[in-house]
Symmetry: C2
Subunit: 319 residues, 2 copies
DNA sequence: TTGAAAGCGCTAACAG
DNA sequence: CTGTTAGCGCTTTCAA
């Protein structure tokens, strides 16, 4: 079934059918004939033929670190709710299964029939920006700010601030803050600064990775020599790693040491004790990214950036 | 950069370049010229033009219930490791964001430039089979067996059996088994049968949903009137729902009542008490599905179905 | 082993 | 508002 069949049955030319399918500009009479011809034939437009002319596929590639990451999946979910409304589908590409270099990969797929790329990033390098610049399709980075690229971010400074303000209400003296590498501008720099600048108590900062075991390890190696009565993790996973370390070493939480995380991962309310954390609505982050993408793709598409809800969830690990 | 540019630079015809890109049948001399022309130009084949002739996109659609499901994501992960090796990418479609009827949706995308569809299903209806039959592209159903469709499944009878055998070793008298609707042939029928047929103790079976809260609710409504000293959930989520109910009602686990789940979701070792469960390697399930798909898509592709690891993980909730 | 040529199904000028 | 026409970039006969 091609557009020709529909045209023949409807008794019009294929351009009229094409017009019906796209802009409009068809008389009511023909419009009805075409509609019924399409219904009769079950015609579906051939995406390859259309793409050959228009270079549009209604496919957005989403590059993310791993599939088993709570925050990535939440964002993905948010994106999908928006994208699917406009007929876009997501090509999901977990970075950990890409064999080539990320930059090479990005460059390659910019010409592979995809309409846009959303990258959930922990860092934006000059190479990333260069590719985004030279690419014919839009690339949006989520989670990291960069002045020369399309980026959608959390207000990480505010995130850090809100957590600090909560910590200030607690009856504690020495804070241990577990951060991540400063190559991550958002979590490693802004979030940390927001936290440190608003904190009233003395604090020691340690740098670790995003995995629970990274946090566990750094606690094992370093925490013995540090005086602290609260551990704040830059993410829930980090806080959970610390919590497990404390648990394994007989430290009572929250009695001897309190623990606070950031992100409100689903795990956090299953922990024992349940983890106090700042809820971050990652679905909104995803929706923002999707809307930003659509605004670059669809003309007359407008949207307003939703502000991402932050809410302190007080649980047992801090009280 | 088109195939014409490459042909011009290499000093051959575009058919020769096309042959170089596909089958072969090019002299060594020309082969080298073309290779270097491609390198020089950074040529990438236009997927729309190729698709128009070949109807191949190297895209596999994966339909899954929701994105926030542990088992789905694990399977997805497994699929991706295989598919990406062969240059295929996944178009991920969460069912909960599809507005139209699932059957309509399936029928629609079979003609939308996708090479194959993998459906993570809780049930296979006649409509599903009809579409799979009439579709020009392969459709594989994962998780549910059906004699007239391509299906990849777990050995759910064996799953039930292994759990029953473990329960038989425990010092308990009355079993409460929380199952799901029999419309789910795998979990609702086979898994249950495997369990019931190998169990030595008396058992009461209750039907609930896949969500924790479903299990929580059924416990609230029904468990008071039932005598049991162990609850076995057909999935970890169900077991966790029961565990939370017991916890909220002051029942000591495992002292008064033991709890066992199936699946080994990541949550399960965060529970308090940690949940005894049968580990199921869903990544292998995903790999099997991907391999099955490739065998339908790529000629000369052979594979052997991997058997899905099952392993009983004894944790605190049962001992 | 190669090149010429036809055409995949569609969109978008353009002329009417 | 409609039809004619010219490709989009590629693969695939076919004849050489």
């Amino acid at each position: 079934m091609t557009i020709n069949d529909v045209a023949r049955i409807a008794g019009v030319s294929k351009s009229t059918v094409s017009r019906y399918l796209n802009d409009g500009y068809v008389s009511d009479e023909n419009r009805e004939k075409i509609r019924s011809a399409i219904e009769e034939t079950g015609y579906q437009t051939n995406v390859f033929a259309r793409g050959l002319k228009t270079n549009r596929s209604k496919l957005i590639a989403i590059i993310l670190p791993r599939l088993d990451s709570f925050t990535s999946i939440q964002s993905l979910n948010g994106m999908n709710t928006i994208l699917s409304q406009y007929g876009y589908q997501m090509v999901v590409v977990p970075k950990n299964t890409i064999e080539e270099d990320e930059i090479t990969y990005l460059r390659r797929i910019t010409t592979q029939g995809i309409d846009g790329i959303i990258v959930l990033a922990h860092a934006i390098t000059d190479d990333h920006v260069a590719i985004a610049d030279s690419s014919k399709i839009p690339i949006i980075f989520v989670g990291q700010y960069h002045p020369q690229a399309h980026t959608i971010t959390l207000e990480d400074f505010e995130v850090g601030k809100q957590v600090a303000e909560y910590v200030n209400t607690l009856d504690i003296n020495h804070v241990l803050y577990l951060s991540v590498s400063e190559s991550d501008q958002s979590v490693g720099v802004m979030r940390k600064q927001g936290f440190l600048q608003h904190l009233d108590n003395p604090v020691r900062t340690l740098i670790t990775g995003f995995q629970q075991k990274d946090a566990y390890e750094i606690m094992k190696r370093e925490s013995e020599t540090i005086k602290y009565d609260i551990v704040v993790g830059a993410t829930d996973n980090i806080a959970i790693g610390a919590l497990r370390y404390l648990h394994d070493h007989g430290v009572e939480v929250p009695k001897s040491v309190k623990v606070v995380g950031i992100g409100n991962y689903d795990l956090s309310h299953y922990m024992q004790p349940t983890l106090t954390t700042l809820h971050i609505d990652y679905q909104t982050l995803g929706r923002n990214a999707a809307n930003a993408m659509l605004s670059l793709l669809e003309k007359d598409f407008t949207y307003t950036l939703e502000s991402v809800d932050l809410e302190l969830i007080k649980r047992d690990s801090s009280q």
